[in-house]
Amino acid sequence: MATESRVVAGAARPTGRRGAELLRVEGLKTYFFTEEGVVQAVDGVDFILRRGETLGIVGESGSGKSVTSLSIMRLVSPPGRIVEGKIIFDGINLLDLDPEEMRKIRGDRIAMIFQQPTTALNPVFRVGDQIIETLEIHQGLKGEEAQKRCIELLSMVGLPDPQRRMRQYPHELSGGQCQRVMIAMALACNPELLIADEPTTALDVTIQAQILDLMRELREKIETAIMLITHDMGVIAEMADSVVVMYAGQVVEYADVQSLFTDPKHPYTRGLLNSMPVLGDEREELEVIPGTVPSLINPPKGCRFASRCSKRFEKCDQPPPMIELGANRRVRCWLYED
């Protein structure tokens, strides 16, 4: 059904050329120093995100996709630590900034929405006041001006009756409504980059469809680049322009969304796509990836997927490099070595 057209609040920030590089992650390593040992949660991750682009980051539990996003926001807390790498955002290495400078970027130029909208909001403050706080801190708006902008934002994300809703507390809203409030808050300052970490995983499928629709609509209007983290290949197919596939702390494949689905290269990506039940297919048996993800305390010396891979050969005992297959196509697998 058609969603009613909504007014986009505020003018977009001068964002520069669509397609220009916005974020470059280089050799990122984030480790957790636990009593059991050093967990190499993110171990040498590289990717580029361009302005106006939606980059999907897909992987299963423990692949390091969420830790990657927390590293970009510099929200990794002990025993975790970023041990190596660069995170270049619009020419600035975020890892060189002091906490005060980082705080100015966070919530203003880079915003984030989380999986559990009901726990990401503070339960003891009205949702309107939580949005207004962001507007006061980052945009210096006061009083009526801030109120007006808050109502604009809430109607932009399709929350019915925003004047009344902004005076309510998070527990009075449903999960889908809370996620709309989170999106309104994230977009309050017209961020150049929106990091969405499993934004619809906690929602029912009909509500997920509403939120994905909203994100698509806003993306067109505000031209925010989106880094979308999810485990759901269906959500990736619907939303992403290009895709990073992560496994056990590493990027194993990078491709534009069409190539990834029509011609997946890495055996893990293939296995993942073939192991999903899809509506309307009549397979009796699903393809299976045997075994489980290796421990990241002592990860295998060679390819981290080798123990579960049907294509394994001698070379896989050595760590595979990222192999370029084209301008926008990379895969970490010895099968593609010339």
């Binding site: 499928v205 689905f261 192991s275 509506l279 045997p290």
Partner: protein, 332 residues
């Protein structure tokens, strides 16, 4: 073994008739019942021997409560559950204990459903101990056999739940059910907590066990793709009611209820080139405390007319084996 009181005439294993489960909401000074949550409200279906009946729906639709009430883990408010000709709701304690051997359950959360302080061997044997089956040596042998069937080894018997991954724990959960040689297993979201690559391992395991032991499943899940894959027939639930019930192939090919159609169209398809009709339902699922009048789906339905607000549609067989509760079934 239990002797059925009435031998069922056909191949029906389980019959659920007009099942209702209301949860009271207590309030006020005297803790009186001030309202009811109508979690399951007049649900009927049958499950044939050897088939998998899927129940699918969003949070709060009553699918889990239906499964639990069928097993008498919850007392039904009204209605009947007939298992092999025996009335489960009115069975005596002794009959019920015997019935429980034949009706097992697998839970969603493989972390919370195993006792962390007992070994896997003890955990899997628990049902045999409760029912006084076999000597300790015989029980150990049975545990070894069942663990092998679910893809674990005898060396796992002395280990504790925390030493296992989510997928392995779900295999242990399946072993616990399987060791009783049940006829029916209620699978309550058995793969929702698992990663995709592990999910397919467990789904394939459930299928092969069904073939080997002639098991019957009542498979409850929110993921329509998973339910369609594993089930022979599927019932779609919305706000405590089954709104549509048919074979899984027909449900996907030709849904007749607008809610089913919307549910199918809302599932993101893992193919960026797939062109399909998108129906995005507005609003949230209403509260089961005060469900909407008439058809419960009417406030979110795009083909609703005035009759839908006033009159509850009957659950009727619109085509052979295709049941639906809608005044305008298929008219979209």
């Amino acid at each position: 073994m239990t002797t059925p009181v009435v031998q069922p005439a056909d191949d029906t294993l389980l019959e659920v008739r007009n099942l209702k489960k209301y949860f009271p909401i207590k309030g006020g000074f005297l803790r009186r019942t001030i309202a009811e949550v109508r979690a399951v409200d007049d649900v009927s279906f049958t499950v044939k021997r050897g088939e998998t009946l899927g129940l699918v729906g969003e949070s709060g639709c009553g699918k889990t409560t239906t499964g639990r009430t069928v097993l008498r883990l919850e007392r039904a408010t009204a209605g009947e559950v007939i298992f092999e000709g025996q009335d489960v709701m009115r069975a005596s304690g002794r009959t019920m204990k015997a019935l429980r051997r034949d009706m097992q359950i697998i839970f969603q959360d493989p972390y919370a459903s195993l006792d962390p302080r007992i070994t896997i061997g003890e955990s899997v044997a628990e049902g045999l101990v409760i029912h006084g089956i076999g000597t300790p040596a015989e029980r150990r042998e049975r545990v070894r056999e069942v663990l092998a069937k679910v893809g674990l080894s005898a060396s796992h018997m002395t280990r504790f739940p925390h030493e296992f991954s989510g997928g392995q724990r779900q295999r242990i959960g399946i072993a616990r059910a399987l060791i009783m040689e049940p006829k029916l297993i209620v699978c309550d979201e058995p793969v929702s907590a698992l990663d995709v690559s592990i999910q397919s391992q467990v789904l394939n395991l459930l299928r092969s066990l069904q073939r080997e032991f002639g098991l019957t499943y009542l498979f409850i899940a929110h993921n329509l793709a998973v339910v369609e894959h594993i089930s022979d027939r599927v019932g779609v639930m919305y706000l405590g009611k089954v709104v549509e019930l048919t074979t899984s192939a027909e449900l996907f090919r030709e849904p007749l209820h607008p809610y089913t159609k919307a549910l199918i169209s809302a599932i993101p398809h893992p193919n960026p080139m797939a062109k399909r009709e998108r129906i995005v339902l507005q609003g949230d699922v209403p509260s089961p405390i005060n469900p909407p009048s008439g058809c419960r789906f009417h406030p979110r339905c795009w083909i609703a007319k005035s009759i839908c607000k006033e009159q509850e549609p009957a659950f009727e067989e619109k085509r052979k084996g295709h049941w639906v509760a809608c005044h305008f079934a298929g008219q979209f």
